[in-house]
Symmetry: C2
Subunit: 243 residues, 2 copies
């Protein structure tokens, strides 16, 4: 019988220490909006995206010709080139450039994952199929790490984790309860992701920030083929051949 | 307009520090099987149930005429009167007695909640309606604390939290994403809770322990009116009058 790899969902970074990921691929998920923008930026030809923990860390790159992106509590930090709206990561802005990025939840989850796993890649609805096809070909267990909101559970990251579980169910074993919950919530929501997310707290927060267009953008499926992967401190395009 | 109290769901004790519960009622939930057995025991006339952290703590009560209950990883610890099977908490065994109890997840969640909240009560499907009717009458916010499995998310506790959210939705505000998720999972599962839980990891664990009858018992709705409440270190019956 073919060996089945395991897939697990970690619902917030605060639970990451409960999982042994030394030999696993960790997929970092921050749908609104960090990992969607990272996928879109790498797909549009950015050389690299450097996730850093603090706004001050971004500033250290100010005179190196990098684009500086900083978001806190959903807003662009004053004085920065942009925040994490995906529209800032279009080809005309990022092609051939390096972006230094700090966000409320996404970069924190990335650094935590980086410290304790075999490989870290970036997931979003934009590259769902490309990501899943690649994961199917890896001989590693997978942990889907939801960035959440300030260490609490959030719906949009969980729905995406559920979408991945649903794509991978034939190729992986999945016994963890959070996989079951994430997949069932995704199946409930998938025909109208935007409508479903109107129930969420983040949706209320984002409505106040007037970024409805960003949300719609981030919920598009499979418009990108890029899979950003963490190499050292930088997110770069993964190069692979589908067999 | 009538003031609406808030209701939140904390999916595992590892996330409890993210919630401010100083003024809240915390409902501790460990459906399989600690809080189901506690509700059943108090409903059957136990004077009190003393939750203690360690098996050794139980032993200190050995010569006081108390019943000693200890469960670890789903099994009765050798040498104890019983574990946390609800069938051990029947009237003929516990009426007029005090039970000292330690379990894998439930007592840990209870002690954490006790240290930081206004009031701690015990929830299970067995006393769902009585609990919800009482919560409706309190002028306090509510946190539903799932005991989970070794700090990870589990389905059965989340489903019960969802059942409470569903009962209380008209009387409380609920914006947290974990409320939305718990309620939707409950609505998906409610017509066949046992069938739904066959998807869960705990179900596999419990099947190995041969306690299918316990599981069926714990999924019965509204067979008890008792609401155990923590007074000092002991769980005792809450006395209240429905207005």
């Amino acid at each position: 019988m073919h060996y089945k790899k395991s897939i697990e969902v970690c619902l917030t970074p605060a639970l990451l220490n409960l999982y042994d990921t030394k030999e696993s691929v960790v997929v970092v998920i921050d749908i609104l909006r960090a990992t969607s923008s990272i996928v879109y930026g790498i797909d549009n030809g950015a050389d690299a995206i450097l996730p850093v923990a603090h706004v001050e860390d971004c500033l250290r790159y100010a005179d190196k010709g990098f684009l500086l992106a900083a978001e806190r509590n959903g807003e662009v930090v004053e004085g920065f080139d942009f925040g994490n709206s995906p529209f800032s990561y279009s080809s005309d802005k990022v092609k051939g450039r390096t972006v230094v990025l700090t966000t409320t939840n996404g970069t924190k989850a990335l650094h935590m994952a980086n410290a304790q796993s075999a490989q870290v890649v970036i997931g979003s609805f934009l590259n769902l199929k490309a990501l899943c096809n690649w994961l199917k070909g890896q001989e590693r267990d997978v942990l889907l790490l939801c960035a959440g909101w300030k260490d609490k559970f959030n719906l949009e990251d969980t729905l995406f984790a559920g979408a991945v579980v649903n794509e991978l169910r034939k190729d992986f074993t999945r016994f963890c309860d959070s996989c079951v919950a994430a997949e069932d919530l995704y199946l409930l929501a998938k025909d109208d992701l935007r409508g479903y997310l109107h129930k969420s707290s983040h949706s209320h927060r984002l409505a106040e920030l007037n970024i409805e267009e960003d949300v719609k953008f981030c919920l598009q499926l499979n418009i990108c083929n890029a899979i950003p992967v963490l190499e050292g401190e930088a997110l770069v395009p993964l190069t692979w051949v589908c067999i």
